[in-house]
């Protein structure tokens, strides 16, 4: 489609103004070639309306900066029945048109230059047989654009990037823009991988800590249970021993009681017939006869002890009634208590001797 007349008029004015500049801002083209340059650009725009002529600063590899004419825009690329637009920049170097221009593929933010590509370098520089076989004055920009379109259709140089780059793309007109360096993409992947690994490690660590805490609690519970069981085992063993000892003691007591029962039975049988003589000539003091002198002494001492107790009790009553003066009362209490002690001590001593004799007797009987 031909561009509208207004646009062509505008382009005419732009090119006339740019090519006729004098002084420092003059374009570095030879005077006798400016009309041809003008014609080439006008023909190009007429055939490819998606391209626009511009002036821009170009930086050479040696660092020199120079203002040149360029055609900036897109070139159609028919591919698999669909027409795509490949963004390109065509720089008209100082030696143009005797030497070919520089053509760069200018990818947008979300595009990546395919690598390796048969015509496009990683930096976007385009190499074509038409450019290499450039012949002045027959070679021109329209044929160049046609060859670019054909070459791109055979092998598309761009494809969409999966993730957008973090930094914005350089603005159009500030020199050629280059695609993202490959290291950044790799670095991003590595960073993501490292972050993922760190996250997984942290999660695993946290899980292990939790599991360990749970296991420690469980272990402590089991150890506590074990100590409880051990303590109860000891208690049961002790209880069992005590019961065994108690059983032995009770058996011993049973034997003693059985023997005493036999003794009493014998005594009853011996004295059964004596009841008949009880009513004749009864003397209270002779009704009981102590078996030995120790028993007699024991009886005597106990009687005296209790007799003194009764006397003191009577004196208490006398003193309380007022019939006995205090000083006499206390003095007699003291005297009687002193005498009482001798009887009580003697009784205690006799009791000990009798106990020893009884124990010896039982032991002898057990042996027989």
């Amino acid at each position: 489609m031909a561009p509208p007349p207004a646009k062509m008029q505008e382009i005419h004015q732009f090119l006339s103004s740019a090519l006729t500049q004098r002084g420092p801002s003059a374009l570095p083209y030879a005077e006798n070639t400016k009309s041809l340059i003008r014609q080439h650009l006008l023909n190009l725009i007429s055939s490819y309306t998606s391209l626009d002529p511009k002036t821009a600063t170009f930086t050479h590899n040696d660092g020199r900066s120079v203002i040149l004419l360029q055609a900036d825009g897109t070139i159609p690329m028919p591919f698999q029945g669909v027409s795509y637009n490949i963004p390109v920049v065509i720089w008209l170097l100082e030696s143009y048109p005797q030497y070919p221009p520089c053509v760069y593929v200018n990818p947008t933010r979300d595009m990546i230059i395919k690598r390796p590509h048969s015509n496009v370098s990683p930096s976007g520089l385009v190499s074509l047989p038409y450019l290499q076989n450039w012949i002045y004055p027959s070679s021109n920009l329209v044929d160049l654009a046609s060859h670019l379109s054909a070459a791109f259709s055979r092998d598309p140089p761009l494809y969409s990037q999966r993730r957008p780059p973090p930094q914005p793309s350089p603005s159009i007109g500030s020199g050629y823009s280059r695609p993202l360096p490959p290291r950044q993409t790799d670095d991003a992947a590595e960073v993501y991988k490292k972050n993922a690994i760190n996250r997984i490690v942290e999660m695993v660590h946290g899980d292990i800590v939790l599991m360990r805490s749970a296991r420690e609690v469980e272990t402590e519970g089991l150890l506590s249970l074990q100590s409880d069981l051990k303590r109860r085992e000891e208690e049961i063993n002790n209880g069992f021993k005590e019961m065994v000892i108690e059983k032995e003691t009770l058996e011993q007591q049973l034997q003693v009681i059985a023997m005493n029962t036999d003794v009493l039975g014998s005594w009853i049988r011996e004295n059964q017939g004596k009841a008949k003589d009880l009513l004749v000539d009864l003397d209270v003091d002779d009704s009981f006869e102590c078996i030995d002198s120790l028993s007699k002494q024991m009886l005597e001492c106990t009687a005296l002890d209790l007799a003194i107790e009764d006397v003191v009790y009577s004196m208490d009553k006398s003193f309380r009634d007022g019939s006995l003066p205090f000083d006499q009362y206390l003095r007699n209490v003291r005297l009687l208590s002193r005498e009482q002690f001798f009887h009580r001590a003697t009784a205690e001593k006799v009791r000990e001797i009798q106990m020893d004799a009884q124990v010896a007797s039982i032991a002898a009987r057990l042996h027989s």
Partner: protein, 210 residues
Amino acid sequence: MMEVKLWNDKREREMYENFAELFAIIKATEKLEKAYIRDLINPSEYESECQKLIVHFKTLSATLKDTVPNIERFADTYKMDCPAALYRLVTSGLPATVEHRATVAASTSNSASIVAECVQNFITSMDSLKLNMVAVDQVYPLLSDLSASLNKLSILPPDFEGKTKMKEWLSRLSKMGAADELTEQQSRQLHFDLESSYNSFMAALPKAGN
């Protein structure tokens, strides 16, 4: 079998004689405490008799320290049922009248003689300490007399310095053996307390009094 004798030699007889005396003292103290509780005797009678029994008890228990190290066991062995006596003799060591600071209502005519008695007891106690009589059985009766006379004087307040100090010293001495002696420090402290109490006593007397 022959009849059992309580002792077999002179030494054993002496031991049982002492045991009998100890037994009698405890029994008599029990009766005395009951009589005092039942208000059958007046406090002065109780105090003097109790004082005597306490002194006898301390003297005798010191003699029997080896054979009777524990009085309660002695009481258990011979089946004595004398809790009041054991408290008085073993635990308190003071007559109830002294321990509870009973105040005897003294009449006007007796006040002068009681004051004189207090002064005499103060001087006697301080002089005894100066003469180095520091054994418990020497000091205790003097302090006991002093404490009793101070308690009899109704013009002195219950918390009078001399009363509290003497009570403290008597309680302390009652925990010691009769033959035990005060240390030099204790002796000086006691003398200081006596002198201080004596000065307070003189200051407490009414100026234009009887």
